[in-house]
Symmetry: C2
Subunit: 194 residues, 2 copies
C-alpha cells in the first residue's frame, strides 16, 4: 500500500452515494507535505517524458498541480470553468457533458498559454467519469499540443473515466485507485499497482 | 524595486477600467519559482509570528497559498465561494457585499478546519476593494481563531481595501502596491516600501 492509500484509509470517509470525502488533506484542507510526496511519485512515473507545462482545472486541482510542478520545474496553467472578465483575447473552450448531472460545463484556457510546442502533463485531484479530464484533453488537442501524461490523485475505478482514458492510449497514473467502497462499513478496496 | 514589481513591469498589462492583467505569471499561468520568491519574502515579513495554518479563497489564491505554505511548514485551507455537495457538516459562512458589482457573495469553510486554536495567515493574489478578504477575516473571527497576518501579491493602492484593513490594525503585507496606472501609456506607479 502506498502513502496516499494509507492516508485515505486513515483520514478518508466513505459516504452514501459513492462519495469519498478526503477534504481534511486533499481538497479543502490541503496537506502540502503529502502533495510533495505525490510530486515525487509522479516524477518517477513520468520519468523520461518531455514535459514543459502542467495543465489543471480550478479549483481543487490547483494546489496539487503547483506543488507537483516543482518536481518538474515547469509552470502551471489552470483552466477556468466560467468565462470571467479577466479572460480576454482568444480562448480555447471545451464543452463537456456530464452524464451524471445531465448538464453541460465549459473549461476554458487562453490560447496564448497553450500552443503546439507544449508537452503537457495533466493533473487533477479526482477521476470518476472523466468529464473534466476529457475537457482538458480537448483543450490540449485544440492547441495542437501533446498530452505526455495524466496524473491523478484518486481514481474511482468503479466508474468508467479511467478505463476510457487508458483505452485511448494515454499514460494515466492514478496514485490510488478505489475499486470498491462501502459506506455502511467504511471499507475501501484499492486496485493493486506495481 | 522588488522582484514582483519588476515582473509586473515586465509582463503585466494595464487595461482600460483599472484592470491589471498578470495572467501570464500569477493567476492563469502560474510561475512557481516566482511564488517561491513570494513565500521567502512573506516568511521574512511575518518573522516571529506564530502561524499554524494558511487560509485562502478559491481559485487564484490557492496556488500561491500552497507554495507559500512550504515556507511556513503549515497546511492550507481554501474557502469555497459556493456551497457544493462536497461540503457537509457544520460550516462557517460569510456573506460579503461587493460595492462594485452590487451583488452578494459567500465564502464558506467547514468548521472542522478552523477553530479557536488556529493562528492564521491569510493569503490572496489581489486586494482591491477587499471584499474577499473581509469575508475571510469574518470566517476566522466566526471560528474564534486569530488573524496573525495578511499576505497579498498585488494591492491596488488607489482602491480602499488596503487602507481599511490597515486601519483595523491588521499586519497587511502586499508585495507590490500599485498606486497609479494608466492604460493609454501603460505606466505603473508603485508605492515605496522599505
Amino acid at each position: 500500500m502506498n502513502f496516499l492509500e494509507e492516508r485515505i484509509l486513515k483520514d478518508g470517509i466513505v459516504k452514501e452515494g459513492n462519495v469519498l470525502k478526503v477534504d481534511s488533506f486533499l481538497n479543502h484542507q490541503m496537506d502540502i507535505e503529502l502533495f510533495n510526496e505525490m510530486g515525487k511519485e509522479f516524477k518517477k512515473r513520468f520519468e523520461g517524458k518531455n514535459i514543459n507545462k502542467i495543465l489543471t482545472v480550478e479549483a481543487s486541482g490547483i494546489g496539487i498541480a503547483c506543488i507537483v510542478a516543482q518536481h518538474f520545474g515547469v509552470p502551471v496553467v489552470f483552466a477556468k470553468k466560467t468565462q470571467s472578465i479577466n479572460l480576454d483575447g482568444e480562448m480555447y473552450v471545451a464543452e463537456v457533458e456530464s452524464f451524471t448531472h445531465k448538464c453541460k460545463n465549459q473549461v476554458i484556457v487562453a490560447q496564448k498559454f497553450l500552443n503546439e510546442n507544449d508537452h503537457i502533463l495533466l493533473i487533477d485531484d479526482f477521476l470518476a467519469n472523466g468529464c473534466a479530464l476529457q475537457g482538458l484533453i480537448q483543450l490540449v488537442q485544440s492547441a495542437g499540443a501533446t498530452v505526455e501524461g495524466i496524473g491523478i490523485a484518486i481514481e474511482k475505478g468503479f466508474q468508467p473515466g479511467g478505463r476510457m482514458i487508458r483505452n485511448l492510449g494515454y499514460q494515466l497514473e492514478s496514485l490510488a485507485i478505489v475499486d470498491d467502497m462501502e459506506w455502511k462499513t467504511g471499507k475501501i478496496v484499492f486496485r493493486e499497482q506495481n
